[in-house]
Amino acid sequence: MTTTVAAAAVGTATRAGVEVRLENLQRRYAGVTALDGLSLTMAPGELVALLGPSGCGKTTALRLVAGLEQADSGRVVVGGEDVTGQPTNKRDVGMVFQAYSLFPHLTAWQNVAFGLQMRKVDARQRRQRAGEMLELVGLSGFADRFAHQLSGGQQQRVALARALAIQPKVLLLDEPLSALDAKVRARLRDEIRRVQLEVGITTLFVSHDQEEALAIADRVGVMHSGRIEQLGPPTTIYSRPATPFVAEFVGLTNRLPGVVRGGEVDVRGSRLPLVQPDTADGPAIALVRPEAVSVASGGETAAAPLVGTVIATAFLGATSRVTIDLGDITVLAQLPTSEATALPAGTRVRIAIRADPVLISRDEAAPERA
């Protein structure tokens, strides 16, 4: 029932999404380059998540789109119109902040109606639209509550309704879930996605949580020192990372020493193809996903290239992550839990690495994880 009402509410609120283009944005703060030529084109109605470690410039990018910060150079184009020089209040952006941002002196519906008041919508229509928006986020029973009478998750939902009430051209979300606990987070994440799809608004979502970004986005842009390192659908980002940085930032990765030779890398006798076949020969670190590692028990007997001992098992639900000691290094393998339970700690196992194309990392420094 809720969905039909919500859909009806959206019927009046819908505005076809517009294309949003960030062109070569540069932003420096005294000595720090926050954005270093960031470019991104978002299709109408698309949800793009910017993912990256702390300090890589995600918030700065978002604030440039909102006009809360001015770019040193570059352009922001929304629906074909260059808005680079426009002040925030003329830009038609909806924004949800990381910090709770409801106006404390107004009730939920008054908060939602605030932007409409700024647009001189008459009182009766304001009240009605605010009601519809609260319905959309599933809070119609809370219209007369003040912010301090709402939970954190409810406050963020009202903030979302408030941002959407003005029918903005772009929706900007700066880690809107990071102040919430894990359960509420996951639920609200799906809620945001549902609302975004219903309204069809072009959305930029900032997160340093890879699970969140991969779950919600049409495309994910992984950022690294002020630039987008890789942009693509979540599955591509996860399974075919373009650079070592992306591979290590998104998901867990085994760093296995090997030798590059003739377009392949030899890791303890397993020959794996390379993502970039033109990599120069020589010793290197191969980045291997835990899912690409398979395990069989009874190591010694077979002529397996890699033999080790299970030292720990972490249950993640349907799958489990098994840590295997190979003597000089440890390897993580991700297995169905049913297989993993057959491998208690101490079991001698034989592992094999699937011949997926792998990335090579030559700089020892692992990226900082947020």
Binding site: P104, A163, I166
Partner: protein, 277 residues
């Protein structure tokens, strides 16, 4: 907590309350007692000193002028300080120290020094512009700056000015709307604090007015005291009561309606209400 301990705590509280109350009320009671004495030894109690307040022509004028000064000073203080402080907080955070220093400076300068510095300016204004007591509000503005600054700063620190104003801006609000419709309503009790501090300070001001030769309430009370001690004391008690009522109103309205850290809502300073400064 044991019962005995709770009892002791209660007794302690009552004692403190009684002592504190006595400290404030005994002098006021004595003043009231004095103001109702008759003129001769053994004369019956009389409210004559009180009734002359209304009939004393200069006195009523002085009260009116002082209230006018208090109003002008409060409004001027808000107009000057509130936008400045919000702007500094949002756009020029590196100026915060400077502004704070400037605002607190008057605390460190003795009133007499200020007056000596200001008196040529006042003489010039009186001759070349208009000669009205309301010119004093310029000087009073300086005087209330430190107190008002503290009160407003506490109010601004209690809310997330940056996020609230950015949220409002993104919803289409201009800077005026941000200040008056978003920030100000959320620091109402701080605004009230600042205003009432200003009012209390102005109503109790003596040095400036006297040395610059203006007749405000306290100067009038002082001169009255030379001629008619009873009425002078009666007016003092009345102005103390007035300040007291203002403070009660403050604590009544200043009660946080919403979740505001309770320790932030009290007065930033104890104030010496309505005593000659």
């Amino acid at each position: 907590m044991t019962r005995a301990r709770r009892l002791r705590l209660r007794v302690f509280r009552v004692i403190v309350l009684v002592l504190g109350g006595a400290f404030f009320l005994v002098p006021i009671g004595a003043m009231f007692e004095f103001s109702t004495r008759g003129n001769r030894v053994g004369a019956p109690r009389t409210l004559e000193a009180w009734t002359t307040i209304v009939t004393y022509p200069d006195l009523l004028g002085a009260i009116r002028d002082s209230l006018g000064l208090a109003t002008i000073t409060s409004v001027g203080m808000l107009v000057l300080l509130l936008p400045t402080m919000i702007w500094v907080r949002l756009r020029l955070p590196r100026l915060k120290r400077t502004i704070e220093f400037l605002c607190l400076l008057p605390l460190t300068i003795p009133a007499i020094v200020l007056v000596v510095g200001l008196s040529p300016v006042y003489r010039w204004m009186a001759i070349n512009l208009v000669d009205t007591i309301f010119l004093l509000s310029f000087a009073y503005l300086i005087l209330v700056l430190p107190f008002a600054y503290r009160a407003l700063d506490a109010g601004l620190s209690a809310i997330d000015v940056k996020t609230l104003s950015e949220a409002a801006r993104s919803l289409g609000a201009g800077w005026g709307t941000v200040m008056f419709r978003v920030i100000a309503p959320n620091m109402a009790s701080a605004l009230l604090n600042a205003c009432l501090l200003s009012v209390a300070l102005v109503l109790g001001e003596f040095t400036f007015a006297n040395l610059l030769s203006y007749l405000n309430l306290q100067v009038e009370i002082f001169q009255l005291g030379l001629a008619n001690a009873g009425t002078s004391i009666a007016v003092s008690v009345a102005s103390l009561m007035f300040a007291f009522i203002l403070l009660v109103i403050l604590s009544f309205f200043g009660r946080p309606r919403k979740r505001v850290a309770p320790e932030r809502t009290g007065l930033p300073y104890p104030i010496a209400a309505a005593g000659p400064r």
